[in-house]
Symmetry: C2
Subunit: 541 residues, 2 copies
């Protein structure tokens, strides 16, 4: 029972933990416990596996990691007890040789309830059956006199966990989550799961999600509180840490602050910014460096980097060759100037000439081909990496998903770098994001959005010389990569058979390049990386 | 009942399928059905998922792939029927929206038995719960009047599948497998599982394993036939395709050919050769190119490449710099000459000088550091990749597991390449393998085995300037990487605390490099790659 109002007050702590930073995560949670106490909350709710960060991957196979998680959990309970705040928190639990994805309700120095996640996702980016044993029982905890049904993430996508909480007389459900973002996920999650389950079982629900970037994943937060009719009583912001208190007067939550839902392309842009910022900051890089080409991908990547890190932490380098047009140089300068970043030009010509000279004897009598183009890209990669090594900047690669899909990129060349903003962004979406970013403030010269895409690795080269137009290519790729459609299905949907077969063959043939690509922010329902595990050696198209 | 002897004759077809090559795998199996018929066999046994190749990974999420597998399975049954040979074969099975890892017994154009794998491995390199639903029932098939208990791979590592076959009155067990190699696996599998289970349940067993390389995995074959007392009645060779017929006269197999078991280091050397050969051949490269440094890693990699591909398909390049010693040049020449490969020297000096020249203004006033060393390595990577691009050779990288673990390698430099022979071979084992290879025939100059390891990227540089001696480093790495021991446990085992902490910190800090490394042959119980899934962003040591 709340100290003031007769209701029960829950503080939703939408925090951004760091994987493996057990001391840091604990300190962050204790800070939020104090803040919750200051707001007279009865309980504070933290995300799934907040103690360890999510996903801890194979750290979960180490006994010392599990023991340290258990120790930090005890410390959290001890710190919260004198504050008079009940803590709902997710953590790994080692028990009789098994490991569970667990939730503890800590109150007055004791564990009042312990719940073990029952539905373990083992698809797309998830490997939870590699680590965890599934729990078998529902759990309802007493918090401030209320019966609170406990669930973890995947559980509420199924029927039984919520149904059994209802049977056990729950007044409401608390669902703690580490639910990764993609372009459809925030909507599906709130509309298709949280509100639907609440209505179906006539149970109010607190849906608390973590926020932050972890390698290729972004967690958007977007925590939400709904009542038994499915009405939204409160919504937390997307893509930033936040705490909000919501008050429950049986049988419903009082209305709280409801943040507006973001729409694409802003939604995706904000995901990219957070993904880049957290990768660079959590890995403690001083800043980022990237190569500008005068094209739209590097221009957009620069804007994202500046929005993520601030202009003082970003360095842009233009690496011209004999094929670089005056327009490209002008536009690169304009981009750097508009966004206020350090900018330098370093010609690759001396390196390129030296490489050709050394290879001359071997290459005698052979026509120029992609080899010479790749050498140029690799001279650029070499110079960018030298700046990275000398100054501690992370190199941001600037390729997009369409290029990564068909292998229109040079391994160790433009693919050289520590992280990619646009790895999961199809080229057609790059244009939408650029237009959105320019609508906020000028960032990218208009003609960069309008000129025909070119790699400028050979005279008069255009992407469309080797690839179908992007408005044909991208839907084929989406069908094949994201929807697992067969070439025959895609052809039946109206695409030219020869084009479909050529695109599919390129995707299959270039798996080896993607396997050596930098990680990048996942924003679609099927990103390259652990979301899509294809063999390199494969003869199936 | 056999046509000749009154026994039942099983042909064990230890084949090397290719993932996704459904037409090729079918042709190979039909060929073996004919060969089995020619030997008057009653039945032919193929490996787990022989129809698709193993592991097909996310191809299993595609409906068109599953449908094509079903079609090829039907064709196999139709082709075998007129031959009068019963076929035991593994294949994916799509059924009511679920997918099973299945075994069919095909006889006379009909499916006589269908078994669904019950124990799905989802650890180390395995992701079977991502794809498959577990079967729930034992199955016993009639083959030539015998009752044959059917199992797939992981099943026989558990009690129930064999126990239930025994309860159902099986005369023998047939286990089909795709069991990947590592240094302890062949022994554990035969001694700890096959012979033990046979003895325990008094059941003879056919253990049929596939052979071949698939990306980072090698399957060793080493199929074995044991009787109810655990005695080995037949053993097939390791690391090559083979077929052998074994005859069962109730209650036992007649003695057949028993290949000797290989011991390390020969065992591991042969795994590396097969892994390199199959990656290059299945991915249809014309040959391999690698950089020789005068050191032992590149010398051993060259010997493996030559043993895998033949000397005519291997090109060796020495890429000297100002820091390259005369001894290194001499030894590289000697290695190439001894093994009879094409050899060329290309100095990196012009590129290196050009790169330093272009960076001069940026680097002014800063001391030389690892940046300059990395530039040299990247000049080498650039030249090797140019040869790869121009001539269609795969670049073999030459780094070893100790280096990959602590990050003693340059991303896009010596790490540039399509495949690695020694990725999972610790440096101390590199020496054993080199000595073994020289015992077969001269390959590596003796002084290469004796000189102190050096990267030759700076004057008078030795590996031991930056790393602990390898006989200290390797046991620490094995404990931390392969055994999941904590730093405290390793210190308690007698290693110097500061050394252990430094090594562990290097392993954690260099995950980002390994994520962009080429695939390579797995030969230990925990290789880098999908066998060890650590977050890049992590603060736990």
């Amino acid at each position: 029972m709340s100290r003031e109002t007769g209701g029960v007050k829950f503080a939703l702590a939408q925090i951004n933990p760091t994987v493996g930073d057990l001391a840091g995560n604990l300190a962050k949670m204790i800070h939020h416990c104090r803040a919750a106490r200051d707001e007279n909350a009865n309980a504070v709710v933290f995300p799934e596996l907040a103690v360890s960060g999510y996903p801890p991957e194979d750290l979960l196979l180490r006994d010392d990691f599990l023991a340290e998680c258990a120790r930090r959990l005890r410390e959290l309970g001890e710190a919260a007890a004198p504050l008079g705040v009940t803590v709902v928190v997710g953590h790994p639990l080692a028990e009789n040789g098994k490991v569970f994805n667990a939730l503890s309700v800590l109150c007055g120095g004791e564990t009042r309830a312990l719940y073990r996640k029952r539905h373990l996702p083992n698809y797309t980016v998830f490997d939870e059956k590699r680590y965890f044993t599934a729990g078998r029982r529902a759990a309802v905890a007493d918090i401030g006199g209320l019966r609170v049904g406990l669930t973890i993430c995947e559980d509420i996508w199924h029927r039984r966990p919520v149904a059994q909480s209802a049977e056990l007389g729950a007044d409401l459900i608390v669902a703690i989550n580490a639910s990764p973002f993609h372009n459809e996920q925030a909507f599906v999650r709130e509309e298709g799961v949280v509100r639907k389950k609440a209505r179906r079982f006539r149970l109010p629900m607190i849906y608390l999600n973590q926020v932050g970037g972890q390698d290729g994943l972004v967690f958007d937060g977007s925590s939400v509180v709904v009542n038994a009719g499915g009405e939204v009583a409160a919504r937390l912001p997307a893509f930033r840490e936040a705490m909000q208190c919501v008050e429950f007067h049986r049988p419903a939550f009082a209305a709280g602050r409801v943040e507006a839902r973001l729409q694409s392309p802003e939604l995706i842009y904000r995901a990219l910014v957070l993904g880049v910022r957290d990768y660079i900051d959590k890995n403690q890089f001083s800043g980022a460096v990237l190569g500008l080409s005068g094209g739209i991908d590097s221009a957009l990547s620069l804007a994202i980097a500046v929005d993520a890190l601030g202009h003082e932490r970003v360095t842009a380098v233009m690496l011209p060759s004999r094929h670089t047009s005056a327009m490209s140089l002008e536009d690169a300068r304009a981009e750097a100037q508009t966004l206020g970043v350090r900018y330098q030009e370093i010609s690759i010509e001396p390196l390129y000439r030296a490489a050709l000279g050394q290879l001359q004897a071997w290459f005698a009598g052979r026509a120029a081909d992609a080899t010479e183009e790749n050498i140029q890209a690799r001279c650029r990669g070499l110079l960018l990496m030298a700046l990275s090594n000398k100054f501690g900047y992370l190199v941001l690669t600037t390729g997009n998903k369409s290029e990564m899909a068909v292998g229109y990129a040079t391994l160790y060349g433009d693919m050289a770098g520590g992280f990619s903003a646009l790895k999961d962004v199809p080229k057609t979406l790059v244009y939408d994001l650029a237009a959105y970013r320019n609508s906020v403030s000028p960032a990218i010269p208009e003609r960069v959005l309008k000129r025909a895409p070119t790699a400028e690795l050979a005279p008069h080269q255009k992407d469309q010389d080797s690839l179908p137009p992007y408005d044909i290519l991208d839907p084929i790729l989406e069908a094949f990569v994201e929807r697992d459609h067969s070439p025959e299905q895609i052809i039946a949907a109206g695409f030219e058979p020869a084009t479909v077969r050529r695109v599919v063959a390129m995707v299959v043939a270039n798996e080896y390049k993607r396997r050596q690509a930098a990680p990048g922010v996942r924003v679609t329902s099927r990103a390259f990386g652990k979301d899509r595990r294809y063999p390199i050696t494969s003869r199936f198209f």
